[in-house]
Every structure is written in structure tokens, then in C-alpha cells.
């Protein structure tokens, strides 16, 4: 077997895969922000969401447990008194930091609750965009059983 030919075949397979996945993500939900969900840390995520830094704010409140017995299901709630247009939940030590992002059209209350997975004990950040700026509140959640391993 010619090793060069093997290599070429493998390259073609990889390129083909990239093209097909690219096509798939275009055909469906054009609005899914892949760059933001690929971000490894808060800075990556903020950049992908069109911000540069987030200001700590007491007007953002993050509702999460102190200790999560099961990292696979950690309830996280975000509310704010700011005029929020977007809310995001970030788990700092997860492989991909951004867990969920919410857009609030006119009429939506700045309130959301969901459940996220956490691989290990980490800071959970609530990001709120108001007046074009990002504000943040954080809380450490201790995880006794991870949700992303296995």
C-alpha cells in the first residue's frame, strides 16, 4: 500500500467532513453562534458575542446551588433589574465555557432558569447585556459528581 495515497485519502475524507458539517450548520439554525460555543474561556465567549469585557454588577443576580451533588443537573437561574437584551450562562471550567445564551425580544422579562452540566467545581457566571454592555455576576458551585466524564 502506498502511504502517500493513504494520506491523500485521509485528507480528502477530513475535508469532506468539514464541508458537510459546514453545510449542515448553515442549513439549520443560522443564528447558532458556533464561535461563542467553541470558546474555551470567558474572553473567547465575550469576543464571539460582540463584547470585550464584562463589568461586575450587583444588579445581576445568579441563582445557583452552593453544592451540586450531581454535576449533570445543576439548576441555574439569572434575573436582573437591568434592561437586558441578552443573557448568557458560562461555566468557567467546562471544556467549552458557554452553556447557554438567551435573546430577549421586547416584552421578555429579564428572567431565565435552566439546568446545566458541570464537569467539576467551577465558577458559574451570569452575563447580562444591557445598553450594549455586558455585566456579570459569578458564584462558585462545588460539584461532588461530574457531569461530563464517563
Amino acid at each position: 500500500m502506498n502511504p502517500k495515497r493513504r494520506e491523500a485519502l485521509r485528507l480528502m475524507a477530513v475535508i469532506g467532513l468539514m464541508a458537510s458539517t459546514g453545510l449542515i450548520s448553515q442549513a439549520q439554525a443560522a443564528e447558532w453562534n458556533k464561535a461563542a460555543f467553541d470558546g474555551k474561556n470567558l474572553d473567547d465567549v465575550l469576543k464571539a458575542m460582540g463584547g470585550s469585557s464584562a463589568e461586575k454588577s450587583g444588579d445581576v443576580s445568579l441563582n445557583a446551588p452552593d453544592i451540586a451533588e450531581n454535576g449533570a443537573v445543576v439548576p441555574v437561574g439569572v434575573t436582573t433589574t437591568l434592561k437586558a437584551t441578552e443573557i448568557a450562562i458560562v461555566v468557567e471550567k467546562n471544556p467549552n465555557a458557554l452553556a447557554a445564551h438567551f435573546s430577549l425580544p421586547a416584552g421578555a422579562e429579564p428572567f431565565v432558569t435552566t439546568r446545566v452540566k458541570m464537569g467539576q467545581t467551577s465558577n458559574v457566571l451570569a452575563l447580562v447585556k444591557a445598553d450594549g454592555k455586558w455585566f456579570v455576576a459569578s458564584k462558585e458551585v462545588k460539584v461532588t459528581l461530574g457531569g461530563c466524564g464517563g
Binding site: 449542515i24 450548520s25 442549513a27 439549520q28 439554525a29 443564528e31 447558532w32 453562534n33 460555543f37 449533570a72 443537573v73 445543576v74 439548576p75 437561574g77 461555566v91 467546562n94 471544556p95 467549552n96 458557554l98 452553556a99 447557554a100 445564551h101 438567551f102 435573546s103 430577549l104 425580544p105 416584552g107 421578555a108 422579562e109 428572567f111 431565565v112 432558569t113 435552566t114 439546568r115 446545566v116 452540566k117 458541570m118 464537569g119 457531569g147 461530563c148 466524564g149 464517563g150
Partner: protein, 103 residues
Amino acid sequence: MGDPMRIRATENGGVTEVKILMKHDMESGQRKDATGKVIPAWHINTVVAKVKDKEVFAAQFGPAVSKDPFLNFKFKGAAKGDKLSVTWVDNRADTRTDEVAIA
């Protein structure tokens, strides 16, 4: 086509509170099967809630949202009896829409 969602929407004093339970494995792409191969990520990407064709709330999920995602949100401007429709799309372009009357 996934399994049906459970949606509850109740209007109180002009604010509608919505609770949704979606049925989805939300495979993270981090786990490995018994032979050590990575199980590919398979998760809901977007969720959109509409009343009378007007978007009232939208979410984007990464693989870090828990299995069978739960979502709770509130919005103004709908009345009892209005139809709330919720649609999710996952990263394999599978989609599901369910509708419920606001109580």
C-alpha cells in the same frame, strides 16, 4: 422528529410564565463508549418561542445544557387563550414544534 415537549404557560397580571421540558439526550461530545470511542455531540442548538408568529423568547444551547433540557422564562403582552408555539432544532437538523394555549 423528537418526542413531544411538555409546556406549561400561565398568564398572571399581564406576565406569562412559561416552563418547558424538552426531551433530548443532549450528548456532550465529551463522553466515550465502552470501546473508548468518543460519542459525537448531539444536542439542541436553538429554541424559539412564539406567540402569533412574533418571537417572545429565544435560546441557544451548547452541549453543556443538561439532558432533557428545562427552560423557564417570562414575557409580557400575551393574553389567556393565545397559542404559544415552541420549536427546537438540534445539531443534526432534527426539529420539533409543540403548541399550547396560555392558561
